[in-house]
């Protein structure tokens, strides 16, 4: 692969970005829920060229035991990038960056989950970046929250995330790799759309106070749009399991969950 060259401009004369997007336009996003059979819950996200798979296991027994929290479940996030996910081979050993992003993702998702329902257990989230093209931590949060819902982990709401940045002095939403590298700044954020609580807010580069406030507003708008996409993806995955319309359900779907009957085996 030819070495990457810095583009002459990130915003062209017409005010469009290098990939032809408007400053407030997201890359095309595709979600799919339930992509892995083995995991309790899973989802992938394709956001531009970024491709990430998230798998959730649990709540399950926690090993090693010393990590156990007596009042709530432990949330363990493992964010990893495939060696082939970036143009230069990524060393397979876990890097400092991966460990930090794992922690950041855990902190972004934690406020939305009812972990106190499962004391002493663990919820495992494995995030694998197959192809990276900027905004992987935000895309990972989007996919992970869908995987959590798919696994049946109780949560307050889904958590959408997006990065807002600055390039050539213009605020732009959902940075691609080049905009991230050669732009002037980057503000990844995640929100809980129900209450507009912000669960992740990081920044690099420099922003004025006004710019940051505006960037956050743009981010919240974009997150709300992503939230709609997430809900659609989830609905779509479960639509086949929905009861048909013309259906009076004289049937036996609801049963007394608690009243286990002892059936068979007389002796």
């Amino acid at each position: 692969m030819s070495p990457e060259v810095k583009p002459d401009f990130l915003i062209n004369a017409e005010g469009l970005r290098i990939d032809g997007r408007r400053p407030d336009e997201l890359r095309p996003i595709e979600f799919k829920v339930g992509v892995l059979k083995q995991a309790d819950g899973s989802a992938y996200i394709k956001q531009g060229k970024t491709f990430i798979i998230a798998a959730v296991y649990g709540p399950r027994e926690l090993h090693p035991r010393h990590l156990t929290l007596s009042d709530r479940a432990y949330l363990r996030v493992v964010y990893r990038m495939a060696t082939f996910s970036v143009p230069d081979r990524k060393k397979p050993a876990p890097s400092r960056r991966e460990r930090e992003i794992s922690m950041v993702i855990a902190n972004a998702l934690k406020p939305a989950l009812f972990l106190e329902d499962f004391p002493k257990a663990v919820v495992d989230i494995f995030i694998q970046v197959i192809q990276a093209d900027g905004g992987t931590r935000c895309a990972a949060i989007n996919a992970a929250s869908l995987a959590l819902a798919d696994a049946g982990v109780p949560m307050k709401c889904l958590v959408p995330a997006v990065a807002v940045g600055k390039a050539d002095g213009t605020l732009i939403v959902d940075l691609g790799d080049q905009e991230d590298k050669y732009g002037e700044g980057d503000v990844p954020m995640a929100i809980m759309p129900l209450t507009d609580e912000i669960t992740l807010l990081q920044q690099d580069g420099s922003f004025t106070r006004e710019e940051l406030l505006e960037a956050m507003q743009m981010g919240i708008q974009a997150c709300k749009y992503i939230h709609e996409l997430q809900k659609d993806a989830l609905m779509k995955a479960y639509a086949t399991k929905a009861p048909s319309e013309d259906d009076d359900f004289d049937d036996d779907m609801e049963t007394d969950l608690g009243e286990a009957e002892i059936i068979g085996e007389e002796d």
Partner: protein
């Protein structure tokens, strides 16, 4: 006072379900007088209680649940029991045996044994405790264990046992359905067993569709007819058109291989005979190895007849 969902609508976490004086129950949470879904599932209003019937999820023990457990450890006068889900249970010898009992309780149940038990206590502080005092609570011998999603168990039992009783009546099998997603099945022969597995898998797959009991019944009848057809070919002596019920003697009293300890300790994958493409590929079917032998023995008998 308002309700924001249709009956049995699929809801996603965070969806507003109701406002006002409603009570929130499983799968929901309330905040500022509003009730939201916390799970993906089917929303339902019962009286003034709102719940979401989960479509996925692990087994969380509740007091009074009947569960099927596998002994994982014998510790003093306790057994540690795997009941699925995040919590390992313990069973005290006093809750399982009549006194006096031997000091070495591994005589009664040892590692790998499968038991039917009831959850007597479970709270946030102390893990689930089991008891085996109760009708039908005992060590399970023979048969096999089928794993299904715990959230589908209510459907498998059906309203007041309608579904499971129908399956039992039609197939004449012994089964125990544990709330933890394990079903113990003891069938007179492998063919019947396969129909039972197919029926349970069908319920699991189509848990949220209507008139399921009827469709499962139809499927079982069809499969039974097929088996009878095969038998007629093999024996030749059996009249061609036989009444549906009662089943033949061979089905009712299949020869149980005596003395052979058919336990779940020796699990093996059972390949479905008529390669069913609709069978979920992740389906874990644990079954005793001895089954094949059993079947051949039976077939021989049938030929003799």
């Amino acid at each position: 006072m308002a309700i924001y969902f249709q009956k049995r609508e699929i809801v996603v976490p965070g969806q507003l379900l109701a406002e006002g004086r409603y009570r929130s129950s499983i799968g929901t949470y309330s905040k500022d007088g509003k009730i939201y879904a916390s799970l993906i599932g089917l929303a339902e209003l019962r009286g003034n209680t709102i719940k979401v019937v989960p479509l996925e999820g692990v087994y969380i023990p509740r007091e009074g649940d009947l569960v099927i457990g596998i002994i994982t450890l014998v510790a003093g006068n306790n057994w540690k029991v795997d009941i699925g889900g995040p919590y390992g249970a313990s069973l005290h010898a006093n809750n399982a045996l009549r006194r006096p009992y031997d000091e070495d309780i591994s005589k009664y149940f040892d590692v790998g044994d499968v038991i039917a038990a009831e959850v007597i206590a479970f709270d946030r502080v102390s893990g689930p405790f089991l008891t085996m005092r109760g009708r039908g609570l005992q060590k399970l011998r023979d048969g096999m264990i089928l794993n299904v999603s715990p959230s589908k168990i209510p459907r498998i039992i059906g309203r007041r046992g309608s579904m499971i009783n129908m399956i039992k009546d039609k197939l004449r099998i012994y089964t125990i359905v544990g709330q933890n997603g394990r079903i113990w099945i003891k069938a007179p022969n492998t063919k019947i067993l396969r129909i039972a597995i197919k029926a349970f898998k069908m319920i699991e797959r189509e848990a949220h569709t209507s008139k399921l009991t009827d469709r499962v019944a139809a499927m079982i009848d069809e499969e039974l007819t097929k088996i009878r057809g095969e038998q007629t070919e093999v024996s030749g002596a059996v009249p061609e058109e036989k009444p549906e019920e009662p089943p033949t003697e061979a089905e009712e009293k299949a020869p149980e291989p005596e003395g052979s300890i058919v336990e779940e300790e020796t699990p093996a994958k059972v390949e479905e005979p008529e390669s069913k493409s609709d069978e979920a590929p992740e389906a874990k079917i644990e079954a005793p190895v001895e089954e094949d032998k059993e079947q051949t023995e039976e077939e021989k008998e049938e030929v003799k007849e």
